[in-house]
Symmetry: D2
Subunit: 300 residues, 4 copies
């Protein structure tokens, strides 16, 4: 193995618009990678990054994410997708193509605590989150100023248990109107109905303020304080009908000690929540996540 140096990518020769991503899940068998890579080669696509996982090499399920670079991708995408259907049928694949030229459109839901929203907007402004922020929805007015200062539409929709269906009807209508791909619950403190969740399967990301499955439900910091844990955490997950039981995307923790009270636990926890949610959203936007049963395969 030779000796030339790894080059810096500081001056890439490629255009980001020409990058695409193919996610595939299918029964494992020999030859899948050969098939997929030959397919991409027909379009002169260069594989930039490829990650795969198989739950068992003989009878398991096979998962692959291939990021590729392809000149004039926008012109070729439709034909590529059409010609892929035959392969997909042959190998019983579920799959999706995504393209850098089609940025995902997101709706951020928030209540009174704004730090998660701020983190997302900050990272988005820094270019770390390749998304269009289509709108922000809140059951309080607190976030309006910050959101509108960035020229993002802000919708105040008061919410409580008694008017849940009416509220969700408005929200669903806005999701359609703004053509939203991903819903982010950035500390939105309202329960969603199964009807709502069913519209957006594996497309709603929530941040829960504990290390799940510890402290499922309400008041996790208070309960962490009472239990005297030495680490506190946060969990981002896709939302399902079972509260705090959806597929986990990312978790992280910080060390605490006996000196922390509930107020300081919350302050420490905020930092964890911010980075855990931002990572989960980033990975979703980069098509790094495949949901499998109640788990996630996350390709880093």
């Amino acid at each position: 193995m030779s000796t030339q140096n790894v080059q810096s990518k500081e001056a890439p020769l490629t255009k980001v618009e020409n990058e695409g991503c193919l996610l595939v899940k299918c029964p494992d068998q020999p030859g899948i990678v050969a098939k997929l890579s030959s397919f991409l080669q027909q379009y002169n696509a260069n594989i930039i990054e490829s990650n795969q996982y198989s739950s068992d090499p003989v009878h398991g399920t096979f998962f692959i994410r291939i990021a590729f670079y392809c000149k004039n991708l926008q012109q070729q995408a439709l034909e590529m997708e059409q010609s892929f259907t035959a392969i997909a049928a042959q190998y019983q694949m579920s799959y999706q193509f995504t393209y850098a030229f089609e940025r995902k459109r997101t709706a951020i839901y928030v209540s009174k605590e704004l730090y998660c929203l701020m983190e997302l907007l900050w990272e988005w402004q820094n270019g770390e989150l390749p998304m269009d922020v289509a709108l922000v929805i809140s059951n309080h007015e607190d976030a309006r100023e910050m959101v509108e200062a960035l020229n993002i539409p802000f919708y105040y929709i008061p919410a409580h248990k008694g008017i849940r269906e009416e509220v969700e009807a408005k929200q669903i209508q806005l999701m359609e109107e703004y053509d939203v791909d991903l819903l982010i619950l950035a500390r939105y403190m309202q329960i969603l109905t199964p009807h709502f969740i069913a519209q957006f399967k594996s497309r709603i990301i929530n941040i829960h303020h504990s290390f799940l499955p510890a402290f499922i439900g309400a008041r996790p910091y208070e309960r962490a304080f009472e239990r005297g844990v030495k680490l506190i955490g946060a969990t981002s997950h896709y939302v399902t009908n079972d509260l705090d039981e959806g597929p986990i995307i990312e978790q992280d923790i910080e060390r605490v000690d006996h000196r922390e009270d509930v107020v300081s636990l919350k302050k420490i926890g905020r930092q964890i929540e911010r980075r855990v949610l931002a990572r989960a959203v980033k990975w979703h936007l980069q098509d790094r996540i495949i949901v499998e049963g109640n788990k996630t395969v996350v390709f880093h």
Copy 2:
């Protein structure tokens, strides 16, 4: 603040036998530190390390650990303790004096998995755990060779649910015979009765192979696998009558991903269990832990 350099402790001028430790818990009020430090000064004791915590400076509970150095400590200890009773009464203190010249005597309980036992013996041989290993008790023969090679008495006491009382009677007798201060459950997979636990309040340390309160009870790695968590952990705690609910001493975690199966989770978990248990035991031996309700104050 001046400029001379912090010296290395490589050549201490002190003898470790002259080190003592005073742990105190009492209602908070002004003047406690003054009282305690004046008391120690009467014996020409030099305070080496002092840590304190108050749950509230006005109406809270005050906790302090003072490590001190005192020439001819062994000769002075009795008088010191006698004269302290007046202060303790005045301030309603619960307290304990401990001395480096009286090493704690420990019993290690183990079943078939030996890695936690090995870690403890390794650290003990390295001088990291200031204890006498009085004996090892197991419901299997696996550990005998390793233990006896170090000239530590090994007792094989078969155990199962049906003979629990008989087994514990033997164990209690051995604890008395060997004058044991601390019991370490280093992956001892038997339930203890309230009768047994009552004999050794805040003196039995267990290692649980999950990040409590997640996955209380049996098969935590299997359940962590099924839930798809992204971090796994271990917890050391004092044993109480409520299974896995005792005061937590230490916790730690490692990052895992979708590629881990139950076997590899267990391998990763072993490393966490080893270090979490070793730390908890070390802090107990150094009198750094005060149990308060169902929590611990740990002075680092």
Copy 3:
């Protein structure tokens, strides 16, 4: 040791204005803690937090930080300080009293990269940094808008090697005019002269974008990339005449791998720099740091 529960501090009975802090350094000998705690008791001061360190219990240097609560502290402070001079002389102490009612006044110096400034302002707005931001100084105009939006005076002082003395003269004048206690170099990319530094001994905190002493000097991320390190870091330190050689306050790191180029190393590094600088500043503001030679004692 009894069983009542550790209380939450959520509703403290104390006023923060009545909190003070005493930092002491002196030759170690028995009785110092007794002396200090008796002194505070005369003023009915309750010790909230106490941390100490001795480089050697017999012939070493003794360091202590005592945070205390004292009714009507503002009225008593002057007398307290005057009466302390006798003790200080007797024990050859260097020391300082500080009070919550006298917030430290800071000047933040910045160039074109604003993320460290933003972090400090964010944390300050969250109440995490107990300081008055007296002014911001920059050799570029980039920060003006953000700073003035918070009603903080912003001074644009163009700087380059050729006019260093003139620039520093202006800066020193502003430090006096605004009565500044602490200077924070939040990515201020100009070398300071010994004359300037001498005015503010142990009062200038810098953030260096590497894990010192690795990659001292310019272009640390580029050099980290070339060396192929697997972790990158950041270091906050007090500024001395030797570039990047001053007493280290805090360091932290993140894991990286071969896929990172210089651009992505810088992005990752930014997150480290932000939190390392914010922690160092916080500890300085809380009087948790004692400089000793070219090292720091930091009481957590």
Copy 4:
């Protein structure tokens, strides 16, 4: 994407003897993955794990590691390798095939400090390091008992600067005699000559007891103490002629504070050295590392 659950690998249907690994480095161009995967498909090999990296998708260097499962691999390996030469020539590949049925043979070099040796032997006995320990070489007798108890040949070869060539001649002879693939310097405190190193390019792994490039050379813990760093680390790297300058494989750190003296820094450092070296050796044994210039690509 559907809903069946990720299966546990607890009962694999495959035999580890049939696993192989192909490492490739070549100029990047479209179609490499297609070529390699088609090649493997001819042998009915199933790709278990695949990782790739390109320094630049257009003009960069392409690296790939493919782990595959192939029935009767031992019978097919020779033909596979012969038929691969044509592809390798066409794409200007440097490459290597390795097989689970050919375990790497290692020599461990050690001096008086045995904790790194112990860690390697422990992990090897636990089945974590897929290698044959061919022999242990030391310039001291300390390790003999521990090594011979495991039926591993132990060679005592006294060493000092004056007899370096003679010593190395003996060592090289032993490496040949025992057909050694990998040399591990587990705290072997002797400088190796360029002549020796040239025999084993990218096949000698060293553990350095600092976070390189900080504290290159001797006495790193003493120098870390003097500098007052807040984190200490360890680095494993391939050995080159430039002392402590070879390609870094892995690094890790632990947090320390002002209370640590040189003795306690060394104790903390030992734990870091143990795990950093064990990880680097494991990744080498699993063919996860490609050396590129003075860096490593490590496929996790």
